[in-house]
Subunit: 269 residues, 2 copies
């Protein structure tokens, strides 16, 4: 998917909502546990109920790997279902991968080719040759961690390198990598005022913003400081939407929560 | 496995060799492609031929994920085979994972419980609460990236934070994390003189050292500067051993290469 197609979808749906499919068997409605593949059954119901309110879905691979082979099968079925039924939707494998060159290529193939995701999240620590193999895929997007929303973000990301914070060095450096136009960045919503600083470095890049809702971020501030000409934001909510109810009405309740966020977003577009 | 058991195995086998099981279907002997599971068949033959010469095996998950469900099945079969037949061998899931707290716990469960690896590699960028969930598992080891052997290591890892390189800040900071005695570190072998600096910060920690062989590191220098009282080194070789031949004699040739490294190592113990 091209960035232009993503922006067009945002304009059409008046939403830049991404829904995180972080499925935990301990948290889904009990009646689904009878299904052959409860995780896929849950995802399918959530997707069908919310697809008109969001522009992206983001399964975090940890939740699938935790169930071994079965989990990978559920992930496969979910991405195939999305690509077949809602091809206009932007898909994100939240995998936070990164390795040396030829190994990163293997990860890129796994997520871009085998699973046919539109994008994958990556970690920056190993630098240029660990990220460029992902950037080489046309019309695929690589979403690199910049400033995360967890407490540990202050351990390294905000440490001063020379006269500025490390995450700014990461952002600035990545702009010089080959095919850097295929880069997007993860920026946590708990520090909305940082968006002003980030927009000075990457004024037009898309930012994937977790941390609205369960992690405590504020949508209004993120929009105020983060929106770009081309929208440039994907706001993720996971638990606040998918676990709105764990009764038989879970999908309906998820849609209500998604609708609330979509309507808040519409006001900023 | 405890660190003491790992050290005892090293003393007994006179080897601190780790063999990287980075299996690429394009590189394995053609006759194996007829097998039901060529990757597992390859791994099994390599393991049976080399297990007396090494103390650890390290499959890099990228190579398995690239083959989707089949790849995960091969990974499962490989770790089950190792745990059943050679339980004294230290196993490393080279996965370079890392996420916010509850999500890191999912990864830890995937690798430590579901797959029953002894250890997993993690990335440090997200800080304390992304790594501590791994450290919480008793007698399991978390091997954090510190200084990698690729070119991109110079993008961020060696940048000055205050008056010292970033990787040193990473090492120093991690010592204060809960259960930090369960930490080991990835230190690339292409910069052997750095080991002196690293040993000042983590004098006794185990270091997993890739980059001997294909990536150009020098075993002698690594041992000179990196060995600790408790040995403290696991030297990894992947391609140099497993692809020593791609004929029917591949396992035998792999054993020859492993034997060469084991004998070099014996001289340093």
């Amino acid at each position: 998917m091209t960035t232009q197609e993503l922006v067009a979808q945002i304009r059409k749906k008046k939403s830049f909502l991404c829904i995180g499919l972080d499925v935990d068997l301990d948290k889904i409605p009990a009646h689904l546990l009878k299904e052959e593949d409860p995780i896929f059954a849950f995802n399918k119901a959530i997707i069908d109920a919310t697809q008109h309110l969001c522009v992206a879905y983001k399964p975090n691979t940890a939740f699938y790997e935790a169930y071994g082979l079965k989990g990978w099968k559920s992930l496969e079925k979910t991405i195939y279902y999305l690509n077949e039924n809602y091809p206009e939707i932007f898909t994100i494998a939240d995998a936070k991968r990164g390795d040396i060159g030829n190994t990163s290529t293997m990860y890129a193939k796994a997520f871009f080719e085998d699973l046919a995701f539109d994008s994958v999240t990556v970690a920056p620590y190993m630098g240029k040759d660990s990220v460029e193999p992902f950037l080489a895929f046309e019309n695929k997007h690589t979403i690199m961690l910049a400033l995360t929303s967890n407490e540990g973000a202050f351990d390294f990301q905000t440490k001063k390198v020379g006269n500025r914070e490390f995450y700014k060095t990461v952002l600035e450096t990545s702009k010089n990598w080959k095919n850097s136009t295929n880069l997007m960045y993860v920026v946590g919503a708990t520090k909305a005022t940082y968006f002003t600083e980030i927009r000075k470095i990457v004024p037009n890049s898309f930012l994937l913003v977790p941390g609205v809702g369960a992690q405590g971020g504020n949508l209004k501030d993120v929009c105020k400081y983060g929106l770009s000409e081309n929208v440039g934001l994907l706001i993720n909510s996971s638990r606040g939407i998918i676990y709105a109810s764990n009764e038989v009405d879970f999908a309906e309740k998820a849609a209500e929560k998604a609708k609330e966020l979509q309507q808040e977003m519409e006001a900023f577009l």
